[in-house]
């Protein structure tokens, strides 16, 4: 019994260590490549694949960390970590909204497609095509559309960016949820029929639980997509106050202050981390009633 407890504790400890360790590993990989790689970049099979390793292209990781403590521009009061944190918090809220709306939209589409076979046949090709439209084409288009629709309304600048996040996030959910909702076997459905359970009751009592294992990987994809959509959308439309905008701005400062860009990159990475942690929590919540996976 004590053995079981120790095992559990060590697993937990290992997991807790894994997170910081993964950062250290990435930093080590960075420094290792910087140390070994070609300073002016290099070619593999004639293609320029190897990144430059000089201090301008790849500053030392400690320079980036150090940069966090200094102001955005000398002479301004707020340290850059604060500026980046604020921007990241803003982007996070937009990405979260995109994720929630995207997931709900995906679920609704999946339910409609399960209910009506015609809807599935009609919608599916369009859903697939929708994901092939490049986001940089969509972003300015959406921005223009939304300025048009919202004439006179308040600040809705974040709307096109959020819509982009939704646009990327709903797809994996719709596809996987559909598959999951259809995964119930005939015997179970007949059982529900014999209970005289209606379509909705079957949906909630049988189909949704059956769809959960399909849904969790889709949620992770949706979380990532929402973040990507929002950050790329911010870069593309120039939305102020978001972390994507900082990536854009600081990229221009790279001539004289290369580590600065990476502070914004840290913000974007943190955004991804927080979102993935949330998705993991959601995943746990959804799976709480499922039997443990067969080993």
């Amino acid at each position: 019994m004590t053995e079981a407890v120790t095992v559990k504790r060590s697993v937990r400890l290992r997991r807790a260590l894994m997170y910081p360790l993964s950062f250290v590993l990435v930093a080590c990989a960075w420094e290792l490549y910087k140390w070994l790689g070609p300073p002016a970049g290099g070619k593999v099979l004639g293609m320029r694949l190897l990144a430059r390793t000089n201090d301008r292209a790849m500053p030392h990781t400690w320079k980036m960390i150090e940069r966090l403590a200094h102001p955005e521009v000398r002479g301004r009061s707020d340290a850059i970590w604060l500026v980046v944190s604020r921007a990241t918090w803003y982007s996070f809220r937009v990405a979260l909204a995109a994720f929630v709306i995207g997931v709900l939209l995906g679920l609704v589409l999946a339910v409609v497609m399960v209910r009506f076979k015609t809807a599935e046949r009609a919608l599916m090709p369009y859903l697939a095509i929708s994901q092939t439209v490049p986001i940089i084409v969509l972003a300015p288009l959406l921005a223009t559309l939304i300025i048009n629709i919202n004439k006179g309304l308040v600040d809705t600048k974040w709307l096109p960016v959020m819509v982009l996040g939704v646009f990327l996030a709903f797809f994996p959910v719709a596809v996987s949820a559909l598959k999951g909702l259809q995964s119930t076997n005939a015997a179970s459905l007949e059982l529900m029929d014999s209970y005289a359970a209606g379509w909705w009751k079957t949906l909630f009592k049988l189909r949704f639980p059956a769809a959960v294992p399909y849904l969790t990987p889709a949620l992770r994809l949706a979380g990532a997509s929402a973040v990507v959509g929002v950050v790329v959308g911010e870069i593309s439309t120039g939305l102020r106050t978001g972390v994507g905008r900082l990536v854009l701005s600081y990229g221009q400062d790279a001539t004289s202050d290369p580590p600065k860009l990476y502070t914004a990159v840290f913000g974007a990475a943190a955004l991804g981390l927080v979102m993935s942690a949330l998705v993991v929590a959601l995943d746990k919540l959804l799976r709480r009633n499922l039997p443990p996976e067969p080993v």
């Binding site: 997991r15 894994m18 997170y19 993964s22 990435v26 990989a29 960075w30 002016a40 970049g41 990144a51 430059r52 000089n54 201090d55 301008r56 292209a57 521009v73 000398r74 002479g75 940089i136 972003a139 300015p140 921005a143 223009t144 300025i147 048009n148 006179g152 992770r220 979380g223 990532a224 973040v227 911010e234 870069i235 593309s236 439309t237 120039g238 939305l239 102020r240 905008r245 990536v247 854009l248 701005s249 990229g251 221009q252 400062d253 790279a254 001539t255 004289s256 202050d257 290369p258 860009l261 990476y262 990159v265 974007a268 990475a269 991804g272 981390l273 993935s276 942690a277 998705v279 993991v280």
Partner: protein, 417 residues
């Protein structure tokens, strides 16, 4: 131009959570950053004035607007689409908001910044904004594609594009490009380079090595590019704000050679105010256009006389440049505007317009493409609006010529502080 270089890096981590986007996302982002963040469209630029004070005559012809029918606005809401984020390149407009010039002209102006993929002339043509700032060749290309926009005030009189190189490369004119690695931004920003090459009888495909350039000037500093494209008001200053690792001091203009396309005689017109052609026959809209141009001229005259105040206005409007860099930009922008054309700032000059159009229709890039397939129609510009606006501005006591303008000397600090 966005290098989305996704990077491999199989991480054999046990925990699923870590495996998700976190680490992959982080390394991917870092990888993108390492390769350099390239961003698209109009890189903000900088250059020193070349042919100062060359007397051009106002362009005749153009779209006819009967200004006597235009009605003065009163509290009209107007949106202006910029071609980049807030910076001194647009100081005149921010100053006109801050100093109440627009308000006095009966306008309530909202300035909209651009992102990496914003095409101001497209946004304007869609009806989402009332006026837009754009370079002339880009707007004309969009016009050819169907966006009926009209140049109503040519604020920047000179091109700010440079080709910057270190002294030891001996590149003092575009003739010296031969055999060199020439950086360029592409996406329509390369035509002055091609025009200069063809003027000198050089073949872009054979005589030079053209290299796609990132937003920053690291290609030049690391020696991958012999001569880098730069705007006088931005990228050129970025070089002067960077430390030379060999000396431990900032790079100085003495270490650099600069080729100005304006001086080479192939400069193309840049920032202008564009309006929606179809709406210019509407008395209310053309009244707003006159009022907008007039108050903008006031704003630019104010920034000519108060560059430091304008630097502060732009910073307060959200520019993220340091104070030194911002003031440098303000000063260089003033050089592109002042002294103004005969007739006053904003007047479209025949010679410069024709040169821009000739370059846009006659210069082929590497793909054999020209910016425009044919000369734009007469409605692509009008001097009627700006002439009326200048009349009103002069009546209000604004110096619209800036004949006595002398640029300041701005000292740059490391990192643009």
């Amino acid at each position: 131009m966005n290098h989305t270089t996704t990077i491999k890096g199989e991480q054999h981590m046990r925990t699923r959570a870590v495996k998700t986007l976190s680490v992959a996302g982080l390394s991917g982002l870092l990888a993108v950053a390492a390769f350099g963040t390239a961003s698209a469209t109009t890189p903000p630029t900088t250059p020193a004035a070349g042919t100062m004070g060359a007397m051009g005559t106002p362009a005749a012809g153009g779209l006819k607007v009967d200004v006597s029918k235009c009605t003065a606005p009163s509290g009209a809401k107007v949106k202006l689409q910029l071609q980049w984020k807030a910076q001194s390149q647009f100081a005149g407009y921010y100053a006109a908001v801050d100093q109440g010039f627009y308000k006095d002209a009966g306008l309530d102006v909202q300035i909209i910044e651009a992102g990496a993929d914003t095409k101001p002339q497209q946004v304007l043509a869609s009806g989402a904004v009332d006026f837009a700032i754009s370079w002339v060749p880009k707007a004309l290309a969009e016009r050819e594609a169907g966006a009926k926009v009209t140049d109503i005030a040519q604020i920047f009189r000179r091109s700010g594009t440079l080709q910057v190189s270190f002294k030891d490369k001996n590149i003092t004119s575009s003739k010296d490009f031969k055999g060199k690695k020439i950086g360029n931004w592409g996406f329509g920003n390369e035509y002055e380079i091609f025009a200069a090459l063809s003027k000198d009888g050089l073949d872009p495909a054979k005589d030079v090595q053209l290299i796609g350039q990132q937003f920053d000037m690291n290609g030049l500093l690391s020696g991958e590019i012999d001569a880098a494209e730069a705007m006088t008001y931005n990228e050129y200053a970025q070089v002067l704000e960077a430390k030379n690792p060999a000396t431990g001091k900032l790079y100085t203009p003495d270490e650099l050679n600069v080729v100005s396309y304006e001086s080479e005689g192939v400069g193309m017109l840049q920032d202008a105010i564009w309006a929606d052609q179809a709406k210019l026959s509407d008395p209310a809209y053309c009244g707003e256009a006159i009022a907008f141009v007039k108050a903008s001229i006031q704003g630019w005259a104010f920034c000519r006389d108060n560059p430091e105040k304008c630097r502060d206005i732009v910073s307060a409007a959200g520019s993220t440049w340091g104070k030194g860099h911002e003031l440098w930009m303000m000063n260089e922008i003033n050089k592109l505007i002042w002294p103004a054309a005969t007739g006053g700032v904003g007047t479209i000059e025949q010679e410069a317009w024709d040169r821009t159009v000739a370059t846009a229709t006659g210069t082929k890039n590497l793909d054999g493409k020209t910016v425009l397939t044919k000369a734009p129609d007469a409605e692509s510009y009008t001097n009627d609006i700006v002439t009326e606006a200048l009349k009103q501005a002069k009546a209000a006591g604004v110096d619209v010529d800036g004949a006595g303008f002398t640029p300041a000397t701005v000292e740059l600090q490391e990192g643009g502080a």
